[in-house]
């Protein structure tokens, strides 16, 4: 059964590019959201295995969304990976203090990179 994934990003360009890329890598992109509210709703409905959350959600912040995703989505919260075009170094402290599993730079996005993160987390 393929990994079920939800993408939370306010950039349609990115979502349009990421979906086929991940699908090609064998990850099922079950939904996409642009705002915190949409993300929380989709998460409840779709129960994804993993959520990719952009740090920058326009007026909202991905850092604020992550703890809510973990706390407000019932008994089996999804695993969250923060994504961004920013450099990881810039947000190191905030990433470290976030409940997200890891940070993944957008240009490095791939099914293998997500698998690796999940494997590392499980180990």
């Amino acid at each position: 059964m393929p990994l079920r994934c939800l993408i939370v990003d306010d950039s349609d360009h990115f979502k349009d590019a990421a979906r086929p890329l991940l699908e090609a890598d064998g990850i099922s992109v079950v939904g996409a959201a642009s705002t915190t509210a949409e993300a929380l709703r989709n998460c409840q409905e779709l129960q994804p295995d993993v959520v990719l959350v952009d740090i920058d959600l326009g007026e909202e912040s991905g850092f604020d969304l992550v703890p809510r995703l973990c706390a407000e989505t019932g008994e089996r919260p999804p695993r969250v990976i923060l994504i961004s075009t920013y450099d990881e170094q810039d947000f190191a402290e905030m990433i470290a203090s976030s409940p997200a599993l890891a940070f993944l730079s957008k240009p490095r996005l791939s099914g293998r990179a997500i698998d690796e993160i999940l494997r590392r987390a499980d180990a």
């Binding site: 306010d10 950039s11 360009h13 990115f14 349009d16 590019a17 990421a18 086929p20 890329l21 090609a24 740090i55 920058d56 326009g58 912040s61 850092f63 075009t85 920013y86 450099d87 170094q89 810039d90 947000f91 190191a92 402290e93 905030m94 957008k106 240009p107 996005l109 791939s110």
Partner: protein
């Protein structure tokens, strides 16, 4: 010789008698001796000596007696027949007659000389007195105080029981005293008061000789005193002008130094109060809602605290402040007498002093607009000197300058702050546009390229490699764009706040950083941006110039101000004025009302400290 024998007072009478007898006796013996060599009828000349001496020294009566005695003795002893008085029978009455005539003439001449001598003596005494009087009067600091001394001296010198010299008319109406007017060219200077029962000659002497000289000296003394008073008055005036100039200079210095307007208002109220001798002074500002705000208040006496500075009162229609607002001209106002509610209330709303009865006010015009009014309150009703409005205006002009300066300064600071804020705003927007637009598009393109790369059939390795290189190149462009973007505006600052942003800077610094941050939640954005750039710029400078092994960055923003201290252990000697980076920081910090300071002694590292008020955000 003869004159020296002559005295004002004659020698004693007994001595005269003895001298007379001795002369006659001696002359008789002399004629006995001379009789042998000279004819006896010529010897009567010898007797003339005695007559001359006695008449000269003792006057007419004793002279006559000597003449008679000489006549008879000559007749008795030397005229034949001897030892008989022949005066009444022969010619021997002739010598007697000559003796009498000579005695008469000599004693008359002596009496005349004596009179002259006495008068000369008197004159000399009077001259001495005059000199003493002149000295006393002309040297006296206060003419009035010197007059009794002069009068006592005069009385002593003239041998009178008392004398008094008064200024103006005096001594009239007292029957025991006589008043002699002292005038100078018909101007009555004073009065010489003398006892009424003086003998006529003494009175005449007073009138004819003492009064004229006293008049001359008194006139000179009066002139001298008038000149002295004029000098003292001009000296006082000069002193007043100097005081005023000094006060104005003090206030002007404050204005030039750009101290807070409140301090200047206080100084102006005090200095003006002292200069115009007011009991209270106030500086008021007109408010748009027909009230006045008290900017400063001063009282000459310590009558407890004045009204609170900054308090507002409605502008009463009949008050001086309202009058100035209507006319825009300096004005003075005196309380109507018998006002029931107290004079001060009628004059103005601030003064709670029932004794205040008049006030003078001058408008404060700032850049052609009536800004406020400066008022001086007086307890006395007596008209204040004419030019007082002018003097108050000198102070109001300084107040106007201070207000105008402060406004200009505030406007400059505000405009600077606006410039900095606008620039920050623009940079933030550019960063966002880059991130949301170009960067996302490039990322998406990169992902698409990678997909295309993976979709290339294995038999086309060249195309695959080409696509891979293009994707790598795109990633590099993204890296560069990210770097550029970070320089334009640090996203971490708006997303994570100052602490993560500073940690990011510390992490990126090529010189190790010891970072200590004390923060209490988020700061105003402008302050965060300023602190960020201060640290960022400093770390860049340290990396470029300082050759340091460690930088210590301390940020403490728990209180009312954010304090930043950045110390390195490098070579120091940096020019604090140099570098456009520091000037940019200075602009940024000053726009927020903060300060920035750099010390960089050679060989002892560089320290930058900045303080930025937090509340101003």
């Amino acid at each position: 010789m003869l004159l020296s024998l002559l005295r004002v007072t004659r020698p004693p009478l007994l001595v005269g008698v003895i001298v007379g007898v001795a002369c006659v006796t001696a002359e008789t013996f002399l004629t006995f001796l001379l009789e042998r060599v000279a004819p006896s009828n010529a010897l009567n000349v010898v007797y003339l000596v005695g007559v001359l001496v006695v008449s000269y020294l003792w006057g007419l009566p004793l002279g006559m007696l000597t003449a008679v005695a000489s006549g008879f003795v000559y007749d008795y002893f030397l005229v034949v027949p001897r030892h008989a008085v022949t005066v009444f029978s022969g010619w021997s009455w002739m010598p007697l007659l000559i003796f009498l005539v000579v005695g008469l003439l000599v004693s008359a001449a002596a009496a005349l000389m004596r009179t002259l001598l006495m008068e000369a003596e008197e004159r000399r005494g009077e001259a001495d007195l005059e000199a003493a009087t002149a000295r006393l009067l002309l040297r006296a600091e206060h003419l009035r105080a010197a007059l009794p001394v002069v009068a006592r001296r005069l009385a002593q010198g003239l041998g009178l029981p008392f004398l008094a010299v008064e200024l103006g008319a005096a001594g009239a109406g007292d029957p025991d005293k006589i008043a002699l007017p002292l005038s100078d060219d018909d101007v009555r200077l004073g009065t010489l008061v003398a006892p009424a029962d003086l003998p006529a000659p003494v009175l005449r002497r007073l009138r004819e000789r003492v009064v004229p000289s006293l008049e001359a000296v008194l006139a000179a003394a009066c002139d001298r005193e008038a000149i002295g008073n004029a000098l003292a008055a001009s000296r006082d005036e000069l002193e007043r002008v100097a005081d005023e100039q000094a006060a104005l200079r003090r206030v002007a210095t404050l204005v030039a130094r750009g101290v807070r307007p409140a301090e200047i208002f206080g100084a102006v109220a005090r200095e003006m109060g002292l200069i115009v001798n007011a009991d209270h002074t106030a500086v008021e500002r007109y408010e748009p809602d027909r009230t006045v705000a008290l900017m400063s208040f001063w009282s000459a006496s310590d009558g407890g605290p004045g009204p609170p500075i900054g308090s507002h009162r409605p502008l009463r229609g009949d008050s001086l402040s309202a009058l100035i607002l209507r006319t825009g001209q300096p004005a003075r106002m005196a309380a109507a007498e018998g006002t029931a509610e107290g004079a001060a209330g009628e004059l103005d709303t601030w003064v709670r002093d029932d004794k205040v009865v008049s006030a003078i006010a001058s408008p404060i015009v700032v850049e052609a607009r009536l800004w406020g009014v400066m008022i001086a309150f007086f307890r006395g009703l007596d008209p204040q000197p004419e030019g007082i409005e002018e003097r108050i205006r000198d102070f109001t002009e300084l107040v106007a300058t201070a207000v105008s300066n402060a406004q200009a300064r505030d406007e400059l600071a505000a405009s600077r702050a606006r410039v900095v804020a606008a620039s920050d705003e623009t940079r933030h927007r550019i960063e966002r546009d880059l991130h949301d637009g170009a960067q996302q598009r490039l990322v998406s393109l990169g992902l698409q390229l990678r997909m295309a790369e993976s979709a290339v059939p294995p038999e086309l390795p060249k195309l695959r490699e080409q696509l891979s290189r293009t994707a790598e190149g795109l990633t590099q462009v993204l890296e560069d764009l990210r770097e550029l973007s970070r320089g334009i505006h640090p996203a971490i600052l708006s997303k994570g706040g100052l602490a993560p942003a500073l940690k990011m800077l510390a992490r990126r610094s090529s010189v190790p950083v010891d970072l200590r941050v004390r923060l209490d939640g988020r700061l105003p954005e402008r302050v965060e941006v300023a602190v960020y750039y201060i640290v960022s710029e400093s770390l860049t400078n340290v990396a470029k110039h300082a050759h340091a092994s460690l930088v210590c960055v301390e940020v403490d923003a728990v209180g009312e101000a954010a304090r930043v201290a950045i110390r390195d252990d490098g070579k120091g000697g940096a020019d604090p004025r140099g570098g456009s980076g520091l000037i940019g920081l200075l602009d940024r910090v000053q726009a927020l009302g903060g300060t920035i300071e750099v010390t960089s002694p050679a060989g002892q590292g560089t320290t930058l400290t900045a303080v930025i008020p937090v509340s101003s955000g």
